[in-house]
């Protein structure tokens, strides 16, 4: 350590932290943790270029920096705005932010089918969590919602555009995995849809990860679809010696049967180690895996509510909270 990086000070909801220059407001908030973290539907730290689109992470900057303490006139997307020394940010403490966020959630939901009971993502859906926390209990949208046919992207992945919130995460995933722009957005406005060239499947060892990055039920695993509600399954950390990926996965089990395999997500729903298609779709025998133990799911969601871990639960179930 020859030279120490000069850290800068940022205050979010009255909590101060020192971070490295070039950190985004969102990631500074995640370093503080807890209530000050804005929700993020499109930002994904391991996907280059992602973020800024969903507008749920809007925050108010009430002082730009130590040198120039003027407030920023507009709300800014915390995922794509870097902190400055002495910046003061308001998230939960700003009524303007809460109001704008409520508006964004309402707008995200107007074209999203409200049929969580039949959606495969229910229980681990970021939009469901977001709507639970910020949404109004009824919709003011009285028109027909947009609808699309379901499409198979290859043998294992189902695309149901009706549920898509156009976060572009899968687009950035495919951009990182493939050389060409093979998976992108077609059309524009509220008619835009995720698509590959004429329903092509993408020929890539890691393309199954688009399922994990999808915050909603638009991209789902065909080997698991409708086999079980996710909260009836037991998540277990497991590993295998895979030559292509790290082999560190979560097995979602029904009894002794492996219902599905996913990568390990952190508490913000982000995968740090992508897994290969082989591990995800083909290794469904117990003998393929070395089980490490129950998976701790640290999300404010149905899957972490009624949890079975060996140790006593550290968090209160959702129902008692209210």
């Amino acid at each position: 350590m020859s030279e120490q990086i000069q850290q800068i000070k940022v205050t979010i909801d009255d909590q101060t932290i020192m971070v490295d220059p070039g950190t985004s407001i969102l990631s500074a908030a995640r370093q503080i943790g807890g209530n000050v973290v804005p929700p993020a539907m499109c930002f994904y730290s391991s996907l280059k270029g992602s973020g800024g689109k969903c507008r749920t992470c809007l925050v108010e900057v009430s002082a730009g920096s130590e040198k120039d303490p003027r407030p920023m006139p507009k709300l800014v997307a915390s995922c794509s705005t870097n902190v400055m020394d002495g910046m003061i940010v308001k998230n939960k403490t700003s009524d303007r932010v809460l109001d704008a966020r409520k508006g964004v959630v309402e707008l995200l939901l107007i074209n999203h089918p409200l049929d969580c009971p039949v959606c495969d993502q229910a229980g681990e859906c970021s939009l469901q969590d977001l709507a639970f926390e910020h949404g109004a209990s009824h919709s003011r949208f009285e028109f027909e919602r947009r609808e699309f046919d379901q499409i198979d992207i290859g043998e294992y992945i189902k695309l149901h555009m009706t549920r898509c919130i156009l976060c572009y995460r899968c687009v950035y995933t495919a951009n990182q995995l493939t050389d060409n722009r093979e998976h992108g957005v077609l059309k524009r406005g509220d008619a835009s849809e995720i698509g590959t060239f004429i329903e092509n499947s993408l020929d890539n060892e890691f393309i199954g990860n688009v399922i994990d990055v999808c915050p909603v039920g638009a991209l789902t695993d065909k080997t698991f679809r409708f086999r079980s509600r996710v909260w009836y399954t037991k998540p277990m950390d497991a590993s295998c010696s895979c030559g292509k990926c790290s082999g560190n996965v979560v097995l979602w089990m029904i009894g002794d049967e492996i219902a599905r395999v996913t990568a390990r997500k952190d508490k913000y729903g982000e995968v740090k180690e992508f897994i290969c298609n082989d591990c995800r779709f083909n290794k469904k025998e117990l003998s393929d895996w070395k089980i490490e133990g129950p998976r701790h799911i640290d999300r404010h969601s149905v899957i972490s509510a009624n949890h079975y871990e060996k140790a006593a639960p550290t968090h209160t179930p959702l129902l008692n909270k209210a």
Partner: protein
């Protein structure tokens, strides 16, 4: 008396050809700049002139130019934004169609000032015939040594080409335009980084509107201070206004900034009054994105002073009683026009043109259009008006690019000034299908006076 700086030669026979343009004093500015000025001096002249961006936002051009990063060994780019798609605006088309060489001359000057050796004109896809005119003019400029290597022995090289868009309004947003030029989907980028630091192919880039670039020619010819002397206050120079709607003489007019709106609407050398002797009902002074003004706020501001055609005067009173000069798309409505229908039409446009990248604009524009459609066709409810107000409030300021604001402002202004007409559409569902609400009643005058 008004001075013309851009359109003074527009009626000369054959001005679109190189020979006639050259004979009428064309390319003198390039000659002057290349022979006797440094790039910094050109930037200085533009700064002195007080020229402001003519594309809508009105940002000072000299300042924009001085922001461009100049890292060693990295090429810079200069782009002309000819993606003119705002409903009500058609001034750039007129300029490019009539005097294409003026734009090329401006491009050479601006590229010289910024040290760019590869410049592009990004033109709207629907202007395909204008693209042909421009291409012909560029070929003529190459033949006569105004473009290419070592222009007129000055050592300055410039390659210029025209690129057509594919019909998306959003590509008029500068970062979306850059994406489109790179061959990608025209989605606006996050800012920062601004194009002046990382633009086209991650290189420093400046994007200017056609009219702004053309205005550089008289600035270099006559000097920045002379240009600053035209116009009024911080609105220096002349502005092209594309006048349309219920007026006797629609068309493109070059005005000296600072003439009164009244003179512009009723003056014989401009719009020539409202058609068929009708009364003025409302006016959109700067293209569909800017707030609509009711008749009692068009010629006078809320304080009762004359409203002038300038950046400051048109925005006097903020959005409560003012509007914006915008891109100069001046749309006039007479007493027979329906404001709800007009607002629906604008909302339909923004719904169609939203890129769909960020959620408030993608979902909100469609919702507003549907609610407005319902109101216009007599199926609306009285709560719809508040609902619309709420939706526009949730879009405005929360989006990546200004398209969200542009979609929200016209709806907000229509409700602000013409709420009675919206309510009438709800109360008289059958009548509103056959007859229009007409002029705002005298009651409104009383309200204003009180």
């Amino acid at each position: 008396m008004s001075r013309k700086l851009l359109l003074n030669n527009v009626h000369v026979e054959g001005i679109h050809t190189y020979d006639v343009y050259r004979k009428s004093g064309g390319y003198a500015a390039v000659e002057k700049a290349l022979k006797s000025m440094t790039p910094e001096e050109v930037v200085e002249e533009v700064k002195k002139s007080g020229l402001r961006g003519r594309g809508g936002a009105g940002f000072p051009t000299g300042m924009k130019w001085s922001f461009i990063a100049k890292p060693e060994g990295v090429p810079r780019h200069f782009l002309c934004n000819a993606d003119e798609s705002e409903p009500g605006t058609f001034k750039d088309r007129y300029l490019m169609e009539k005097i294409p060489h003026l734009l090329i001359e401006g491009m050479i000057l601006s590229s010289f000032a910024l040290g760019c050796e590869q410049s592009y004109i990004y033109i709207r896809g629907e202007y395909m015939y204008v693209l042909r005119i421009l291409e012909k003019a560029i070929a003529e400029a190459y033949q006569n040594g105004w473009l290419g290597k070592n222009i007129k022995g000055s050592g300055f090289n410039l390659e210029l080409s025209v690129s057509p868009g594919a019909g998306a309004y959003i590509c008029g947003e500068e970062t979306a335009m850059i994406e489109s030029l790179e061959g990608k989907r025209g989605n606006p980028r996050m800012k920062p980084p601004f194009p002046a630091i990382q633009g086209l192919w991650q290189r420093p880039t400046v994007v200017n509107n056609v009219e702004t670039i053309c205005a550089v020619v008289p600035i270099v010819n006559e000097g920045g201070e002379a240009y600053a002397g035209v116009g009024i206050g911080r609105s220096a120079g002349t502005k092209l206004i594309s006048a349309s709607g219920n007026i006797n003489k629609p068309g493109v007019y070059e005005i000296e900034m600072g003439i009164t709106v009244e003179e512009f609407i009723y003056g014989d050398q401009y719009c020539g009054g409202i058609k068929n002797g009708k009364k003025l009902k409302a006016c959109v002074p700067g293209g569909s994105s800017v707030p609509i003004l009711p008749h009692y706020l068009v010629c006078k501001t809320a304080e009762g002073t004359d409203r002038l055609m300038s950046y400051e005067s048109l925005s006097e009173g903020g959005f409560a009683t003012g509007s914006m000069l915008g891109s100069g798309g001046f749309i006039v409505y007479d007493e027979d026009q329906c404001i709800v229908r007009n607002t629906w039409n604008f909302a339909r446009f923004y719904h169609h043109e939203s890129c769909g990248q960020c959620s408030p604009c993608r979902e909100g524009t469609g919702w507003m259009e549907k609610v407005l459609h319902r109101l216009e066709y007599g199926h609306g409810k009285i709560e719809d008006i508040d609902l619309l107000w709420d939706i526009q409030r949730k879009i405005e300021g929360n989006t990546i690019c200004p398209l969200g604001d542009a979609a929200a402002w016209p709806v907000a202004a229509a409700i602000r000034h013409f709420r009675e007409e919206f309510e009438w559409h709800v109360k008289e569902p059958n009548t509103c299908m056959t007859r229009n609400y007409g002029l705002v009643t005298e009651k409104v005058f009383d309200k204003v006076n009180a």
